[in-house]
């Protein structure tokens, strides 16, 4: 019996800017979690992670983060990943400011 696989997204930080990005199905890096490719299959997720990790001049520290499907695309399930989609709570800095509206 295999464990139920929790869906994932591939996320990393951009090498130059350091900001959080997600891998899309068409191989872009997007700042928006909801544009990420939601990976429901474990083997496919590992392949996508390998693909991401090979992009050494664009991103740093790629990993698989738990996610779930939402009305507008994948949503984070853990609070850490939720914070990463926005920025800090003490100032309006990071994505919440850069992509307001």
């Amino acid at each position: 019996m295999s464990r139920l696989f929790v869906p994932k997204v591939v996320t990393a930080n951009r090498l130059r800017e350091g900001d959080v990005v997600y891998q899309t199905a068409d191989n872009r890096w997007t700042p928006f979690h909801h544009e990420a490719e939601l990976l429901g299959d474990e083997a496919h997720a590992q392949l996508r992670l390998l693909h991401a990790a090979a992009q050494k001049l664009i991103i740093v520290g790629a990993y698989l983060a738990d996610a779930k499907a939402g009305p507008n695309g994948p949503e984070p399930t853990h609070f850490r990943e939720e914070f990463r989609t926005r920025g800090p709570s003490n100032y309006n800095h990071g994505k919440q400011a850069d992509f307001a509206n």
């Binding site: 800017e17 350091g18 900001d19 959080v20 609070f79 850490r80 914070f83 709570s89 003490n90």
Partner: protein, 556 residues
């Protein structure tokens, strides 16, 4: 103030040049991230949750106005207009982009600053009593010794790859304001029977996963033996320290596993070998360094205006009562500028505030500034007649908060708002506690109280030594906060005790309120502080306040 020698200057400049080339090689692919990461960490550059973070050392917490202005310039040019002062007398910039870091390091080198050895398994920034050279209770200014240690440990070939990071704190006063007992080596000056000053040497203190209070390995070390003795400690640790397990690699574990007596014997044996090799060069150097820390030319002027203002102005009086400390010169005061305005982020100063502080230090403070491990800024030498003007300028800049040593003077680490290692947030907890007690207008009534918050077990927020300590954890995907009571970071150091099950994020403030109310209800008189009361009555009444009379109810 100490100025770089040609050697320091060349060393720092060459490191900037090296790092500039390393960044270029990372960007063109000749260095992989695995190769680059240790290089950037050696230069204080971390990759955090939302961005890079640059950690810059402020040796023994001392800054000149020119350096403070340069930090403001860096904040404005390459960051988001502010900096974060940390519990290790560093400043962190939370938003630099990689390609700007070489320019930032160059700007730091222009004012004799750098970010070297603010990461990695080496001797980190040597921290000191932030009232050094000013405090009334001080035997001698410890900073010349700290500077000697800084020079000796910077790029020391033998100690660049220790089993783990190594932190040294030093104080020249019997009242320990530098948390020396929570450091790998703590140095506390006192006098022997003959009245000569020397250091009590403590080793194996540290917070983090396995908190321990440092233990005295030498009661009295003559001042001239400092460097060879510290070298002996490092050398024994470098040999014995465990490299097989990161969690057992700090010297506190070495002391614990080897035994203090055995360690002492080994250190003394090594010391006997090393001592003759220090043929006096260190003392000649120390002599030169001392001259750079000569006390300022104190003014002699009446202080009547200060007393008159103190009587007349209640806002000034409240500030003077909490934010001033006794200077060794009766006409002077030590001003602690609170970087803890209620609802703001503990330790964050805007570039404008930095410039105001630099101006005040220049105009009224003999051009001296300090950063405390409690994340405040100190003007160590202010003539009392200038205090009303200083206070007025601080208020204008949003820096006039009268809360030093009180409940809202909270230490909080960056936590999960910035730190990649965090398990929960700490900053908003600090903000909410401060705002709540401001609303209740209770903190002056409560009196001395140290609340310290860490966002993970690494304990950068010193929660173990908080009168009330708060540790943020991740419990099954939810932020959860463990409370400890009775910690103490002074010469009577103690590790706080866990109260019981943790609290959900929105239950922390009410829990703190219950603890404070319990204290107010049971203290004998206002002079019995929270910590004294906890020591007298024990934890039970506070446990009941937190969890009800059963003491077992899960508050989360």
């Amino acid at each position: 103030m100490y100025s770089y020698s040609d050697f320091d200057e060349d060393f720092v400049r060459s490191r900037v040049a090296q790092f500039t080339a390393q960044v270029e090689r990372r960007l063109d692919g000749s260095l992989t991230e695995e190769e680059f990461r240790p290089l950037r960490l050696m230069n204080g550059l971390y990759l955090q949750l939302h961005a890079y973070m640059l950690r810059i050392a402020i040796p023994y917490g001392t800054l000149s106005p020119r350096q403070m202005r340069q930090l403001a310039l860096i904040a404005d040019t390459w960051d988001k207009g502010y900096g974060h002062f940390t519990t290790r007398q560093n400043i962190q910039f939370n938003w630099p982009v990689l390609t700007d870091v070489p320019a930032i390091l160059g700007a730091l080198a222009d004012v004799e600053m750098h970010a070297i050895q603010t990461s990695g398994n080496c001797v980190r920034n040597v921290t000191a009593d932030h009232f050094a050279g000013a405090a009334a209770d001080e035997i001698e200014d410890p900073r010349p010794y700290a500077e000697l240690l800084r020079q000796w440990s910077t790029d020391h070939p033998e100690f660049q790859f220790l089993p783990r990071k190594f932190k040294i704190a030093i104080t020249g006063a019997p009242n320990d304001r530098a948390v020396t007992r929570a450091h790998d080596i703590g140095l506390r000056m006192h006098k022997n029977a003959k009245g000569e000053p020397g250091f009590e040497v403590m080793i194996g203190g540290g917070l983090g996963r396995t908190p321990m209070v440092g233990r005295t390995v030498r009661d009295f070390l003559p001042l001239g033996d400092l460097l060879p003795y510290v070298e002996a400690v490092l050398s024994v640790y470098n040999t014995l320290g465990r490299r097989d397990n990161k969690y057992k690699a700090r010297i506190k574990i070495t002391v614990h596993e080897t035994g203090l007596d055995e360690m002492r014997t080994m250190i003394e044996t090594r010391f006997a070998e090393v001592r003759p090799l220090f043929a006096g060069n260190d003392q000649a150097l120390l002599h030169d360094i001392r001259a750079a820390f000569a006390p300022p030319a104190f003014r002699n002027a009446p202080i009547d205006a200060y007393h008159a203002f103190y009587k007349a102005d209640p806002a000034f009086r409240a500030w003077a009562d909490t934010n001033l400390a006794q200077h060794r010169n009766d006409q002077y005061a030590i001003v602690t500028v609170s970087i803890k305005a209620h609802g703001e982020t503990p330790g964050d100063a805007t570039s404008n505030q930095m410039r105001v502080l630099a101006d005040l230090a220049e105009t009224f403070g003999h051009s001296d500034l300090r950063i405390s491990h409690e994340q405040n800024v100190i003007l160590p030498h202010v003539h009392k007649s200038d205090l009303p003007a200083v206070h007025a300028a601080l208020v204008q800049a949003g820096l006039g908060t009268a809360n030093v040593g009180l409940l809202s003077d909270i230490i909080a680490c960056p936590g999960m708002d910035y730190c990649a290692l965090a398990t929960a947030r700490s900053i908003p907890i600090a903000q909410e506690i401060a705002l709540r007690f401001k609303e209740l207008d209770l903190e002056h009534e409560v009196g001395p109280m140290k609340i310290k918050i860490s966002g993970c077990i690494n304990a950068c927020g010193h929660h173990h030594v908080g009168h009330i300590g708060i540790l943020g954890l991740d419990r099954a995907g939810v932020e959860n906060y463990q409370i400890t009571l009775g910690g103490d970071g002074t010469e009577t150091a103690a590790i706080g005790e866990k109260m019981g099950p943790g609290f959900a994020y929105d239950q922390v403030v009410p829990a703190i309120e219950r603890l404070v109310n319990t204290y107010l209800g049971l203290r004998h008189e206002a002079s019995e502080t929270f910590l004294m009361a906890v020591r007298r009555v024990g934890l039970d009444p506070f446990k009941t306040a937190l969890y009800g009379s059963e003491g077992t109810q899960d508050a989360a």
